[in-house]
C-alpha cells in the first residue's frame, strides 16, 4: 500500500515536471471522452430498450392486405393493419392480451365558460393497452373489457391534462368534454412516456416531445367517426371513400396491432394463426397472393423501423474515432515522457527495482493522467450537454441527460483507455537496461 502511495508521489512529481506535455495529454483525453460521452448520452436513449422486462413478449402484427405490387422494400407488408384485419384478429382472441390503437387529436373544453379549447393528443385503444404496456396510474384504473364491449364513452387522462383541467385533484368519475362530447373519466395515468415510443413508431411518434394526454375507447371512437390524426398509409391503393363506413373497409394501413405472447410456443402458434387467417382471406378471394405476415417483438420492431436517427449513429462513430485519435496522441506523448526518463529508470532498476515495479509505477502514472483527463472530460461533458439542443432535434436532444451512470462511465472509460494506451510506452520503459543507461551517463 505504501508502495502505491510512493508511485503516486513519483507520478505526480513527474507530471509536474513537464506541465505542457501533461496538459496536452489531459486535454486530449478530456476532449475525446467528452465528445464520445455527449453523443453516447443521446445514442443510449434513442437506441435503448423502452420496456426491457417485457420486450421479448410483446409482438407487433403485420399482414399483407395490399399485395406484392404495393409492398414496401424487401417484400415487407404494411407497417400497420387496416380496420378489417384488426377487428378480425381482435375477435379471434388467439392471444392472452391484444391491443390496437390509432392516434387521435381532440379538443378538450375546460369547464369555465370563457376558456378556450385545448388541443390534446392521445389514442383510441382498448382495455388491454394499459396492462400490456404497464401504464402506471395515479388515480383509478384502466376501464374494463366490458366497457370495450359496450362501446362505453370512457376516457383516461394523463397527469398533465388532469393538472390543467382539475388542478391535479382525483377526477375519477367526473366528466370531460372531448370534441363536444361527454366522456366519463375512469383513470388518471402517472407520468408515462417510454422512449422510443415503440407501440406507435408507425405514426412517427417515436420521439414525440410530449407523452400522450388522453385515451378513449376504440369502439366508441369508431362509432363517432373520429378520424385518425396520424398516418394513413394507402401505398398507392385507392383511399377515397363516400362514407365513413366505406372508408373503414378500405385497404389502407392505419392501426398498429400488438399481442402479448409469454413464450416461444405461443408465438409459434400465433404465427400459424395469422398465416392461416391470410390463407383464408386468399381462399375467400380478398387476397390474390400467398400469406405474407410478420410477428416482431419490441426490439426486432425497433430495429426494423430503424428508429435510431442516422445523425445519432454517425456522430457517435465520428466521436469514437476522434477519441481513438486522441488516444494515439496520448500513446505518443506518454512514450516521449517515459523514454525521457530512461536514466531514472536505469538507476531504479540498478538499485533493485524489478520490471514489475517499473510497470506498476508507469501504469499508475498513466492512470493518474486518465483520472485527471476524466474529471476534466466530465466538466466538458456537463457543459457540452447544455449545447446538445444545437446538435440534435429538440425532441431527441431533450431526452439526453447527465446521470450517475454517465458520470461513472466517463471516468471509467477515460481511466481504462489511458491505461490501455500506456501499455506500449510502459513496456518500452520496462525494457530499459540498467547497465546500459548507467554506462552512457
Amino acid at each position: 500500500m505504501s508502495m502505491l502511495a510512493y508511485y503516486f508521489g513519483l507520478g505526480w512529481r513527474s507530471l509536474r515536471r513537464n506541465p505542457v506535455l501533461t496538459a496536452l495529454m489531459v486535454m486530449a483525453i478530456a476532449f475525446g471522452v467528452a465528445a464520445s460521452m455527449i453523443t453516447w448520452s443521446v445514442f443510449r436513449v434513442v437506441s435503448g430498450n423502452p420496456i426491457p422486462w417485457k420486450s421479448s413478449q410483446l409482438y407487433n402484427v403485420q399482414i399483407d392486405n395490399r399485395g406484392p405490387q404495393y409492398d414496401n422494400a424487401g417484400h415487407e407488408p404494411p407497417e400497420a393493419l387496416n380496420y378489417t384485419d384488426a377487428m378480425a384478429l381482435l375477435q379471434a382472441h388467439k392471444a392472452p392480451h391484444q391491443t390496437l390503437l390509432y392516434d387521435v387529436a381532440l379538443s378538450v373544453m375546460p369547464e369555465g365558460a370563457h376558456d378556450l379549447p385545448i388541443n390534446a393528443l392521445g389514442y383510441a385503444t382498448n382495455a388491454d393497452f394499459f396492462t400490456m404496456f404497464d401504464v402506471p396510474f395515479e388515480y383509478g384504473a384502466p376501464w374494463a373489457t366490458s366497457d370495450d364491449d359496450a362501446h362505453a364513452a370512457v376516457a383516461i387522462i394523463s397527469d398533465d391534462l388532469n393538472q390543467k383541467l382539475f388542478g391535479g385533484a382525483n377526477s375519477v368519475g367526473r366528466n370531460v368534454t372531448l370534441d363536444m362530447r361527454t366522456y366519463r373519466i375512469v383513470g388518471v395515468t402517472a407520468h408515462w412516456d417510454p422512449k422510443p415510443r415503440y407501440y406507435d413508431v408507425f405514426n412517427g411518434m417515436t420521439f414525440a416531445d410530449r407523452p400522450p394526454q388522453l385515451y378513449v375507447g376504440f369502439n366508441r371512437a369508431i362509432d363517432l367517426h373520429i378520424a385518425t390524426s396520424g398516418r394513413n398509409n394507402c401505398g398507392g391503393a385507392p383511399f377515397h371513400a363516400d362514407s365513413p363506413e366505406q372508408w373503414l373497409h378500405r385497404e389502407c394501413a392505419w392501426i398498429p396491432f400488438w399481442v402479448e405472447l409469454p413464450n416461444e410456443a405461443m408465438k409459434k402458434s400465433y404465427e400459424s394463426f395469422i398465416t392461416a387467417y391470410s390463407a383464408e382471406q386468399q381462399r375467400a378471394g380478398r387476397f390474390q397472393w400467398a400469406p405474407n405476415v410478420r410477428l416482431r417483438n419490441v426490439t426486432e420492431w425497433l430495429d426494423f423501423e430503424k428508429v435510431v436517427p442516422p445523425e445519432s449513429r454517425i456522430s457517435l462513430f465520428v466521436s469514437v474515432g476522434f477519441f481513438v485519435i486522441c488516444l494515439v496522441n496520448t500513446i505518443g506523448l506518454l512514450l516521449a515522457k517515459f523514454m525521457r526518463r530512461s536514466a531514472e529508470i536505469g538507476v531504479r532498476r540498478a538499485l533493485g527495482a524489478t520490471r514489475r515495479e517499473v510497470y506498476a509505477q508507469f501504469l499508475i502514472e498513466a492512470g493518474a493522467v486518465g483520472l485527471v483527463g476524466g474529471v476534466l472530460g466530465l466538466v466538458i461533458t456537463i457543459i457540452g450537454m447544455q449545447g446538445v439542443g444545437l446538435l440534435f432535434d429538440q425532441d431527441i436532444a431533450q431526452l439526453a441527460h447527465v446521470d450517475l451512470s454517465l458520470l461513472l462511465t466517463t471516468l471509467t472509460v477515460s481511466i481504462l483507455a489511458t491505461v490501455v494506451a500506456s501499455f506500449y510506452p510502459t513496456w518500452r520503459a520496462a525494457q530499459v537496461q540498467p547497465a546500459w543507461q548507467l554506462k552512457s551517463n
Binding site: V20, L21, L24, M27, A28, F31, A35, T39, Q69, A105, S107, M109, L116, P117, I118, N119, D179, M180, G204, D209, A227, S229, G236, P238, F239, H240, A241, W247, P309, P310, E311, R313, I314, S315, V318, S319, G321, F322, V324, I325, C326, V328, N329, I331, G332, L333, L335, A336, K337, M339, R340, L390, L391, F392, D393, Q394, Y424, R428, S440, N441
Partner: protein, 411 residues
Amino acid sequence: MMQIKPILSALRRHKAGTVLIALQIALTLAIVCNALYIIHERLAHIAEPTGVDEPNLFAMANLWGEQYTKQQAAAKIEQDLITLRQLPSVADATPTNGYPLRGGGWDNFITMKPDQVDKTTDAAVYAGDEHFLRTFGLKLIAGRDFNADEVRDMGLREAVTPPVTIVSKTLADRLYPKGDALGKSFYSMSSTPITIIGIVDTLHRQDVSTWSAPYKGQSLIWPLRLAQPMGVFYVVRAKPGQLADAMREAPKALYAENRMRMFPAKDGLVDYRQIRQEAFERDRGMAILMGVICVVLLAITAAGIIGLTSFWVGQRRRQIGVRRALGATHRDILHYFLTENLLISVGGVAIGTVLAFALNLWLKQNFALESLPLIYVLSGMVILILLGQGAVFAPALRASRVPPIEATRPA
C-alpha cells in the same frame, strides 16, 4: 537537396514515435475530409431555396374546436379568410394543407398513363385557392393562375382529382424534358388526366427528409380548399415590414370571430425563420458537431506533433551540437526537422487517403452519403501537411539554436 538518407536512418531508430505520428495524421485526414464533406452536404441542404417570399410569410395551424361537416368547415374557412385579408397589416392569405419545409405532408405518385403501375416520379401536393400564388409570392413563369371558379372544396377522404394544376418548373422539366409541359397532362392515382395550366419557378416540397431527396423541388398545386373536420393551415403574407404586427393581430382577430379553435404550441403561429430553424435542426447540428470535431482534432494532432518533436529535439541535443560543430548552419538544422516531418506527413496522408475512402465507402453503405469528391481529400492532404510543418516549426527553431558547445557536454 536535403539529405534524406540520414533522416531515414534516424527515423528508423524512433520507429514507434514515427509510426504514431504517421498514424495520427492518417486517422485525422480520414475523419477530417469526411467530416468536411458532411458539413458541405448539410449546408447545401440548408441553403436550398423555397421559392416563397419567406421574410413576409407566416403560417398558422388552425384546428377546429368543434366537429364540422364539410359545408360548415368551408363556410368557417371563407369567413376566416375575409377576416385575415381585412387586417391592415396583411397583404393576402390562403388556406392550404401545408407549406414548404413543414416536414412530412401530402405527396402523390405521378404517372404518364392512366393504367401505369410503377410511378414515373413523385410530387409534393399543395392544395391552394386562387390566392395561393400571390400569398406565397411564387413566380409564375408560364401559363396562368387559378380562377376562383376552379377551386373546389375537399372533405375528409373525398375522391377529388382536379382537372387542372400548376406545377413547379422542376416537375414540369422532369415530366416533359423538352420544356413543352404547358398544356400537357399527366395522371396521379386516378384515371382522369390533369392538365398543366401554369408553371412556377421554384416551389420547394413540404418534406425535407432523405427519402424525398430524389424528388427535390417537384411540387404541384391543385385548386382545392380542405374543408375537413380537423382543421386547416392558413398561410398569411404580411405587408412589407409588418410581419410582427400581422402575427400579433391575426390570431386575435380569428379568436374574436370564433373562439372554438386551437392554435397548437408547435406550429400554431410560426414565421419562416422558425420554420427553417425547425426543418434544418438536424442538418445544422451535424454541421456544428463535425466542425467542432475537425477543429479540435486538428489542434490535438498539431499538439501531438509538437510534443513528440520537442522530445526528439531534447533527446538529440548532443548530436545536433556535433553537427553544428562540424559546420552545419542554423538553416541546415531547421531544414532537417522540417524535412523529417514532411516525410512522416507524406507517409501519413498516403495511408490517410486510403482510410478516408474506406470510411466514405462505409458511410455510403450505412448512411446514404454521397461519394467523397477527390478535392476534399486533396485539400485535407494540404491542410495536414501545412499543419505538420507549422507544428514542427517551433521545436525545429529551438533545435537550430542548439550551440555547437553542446557536443562537448554529456547527454
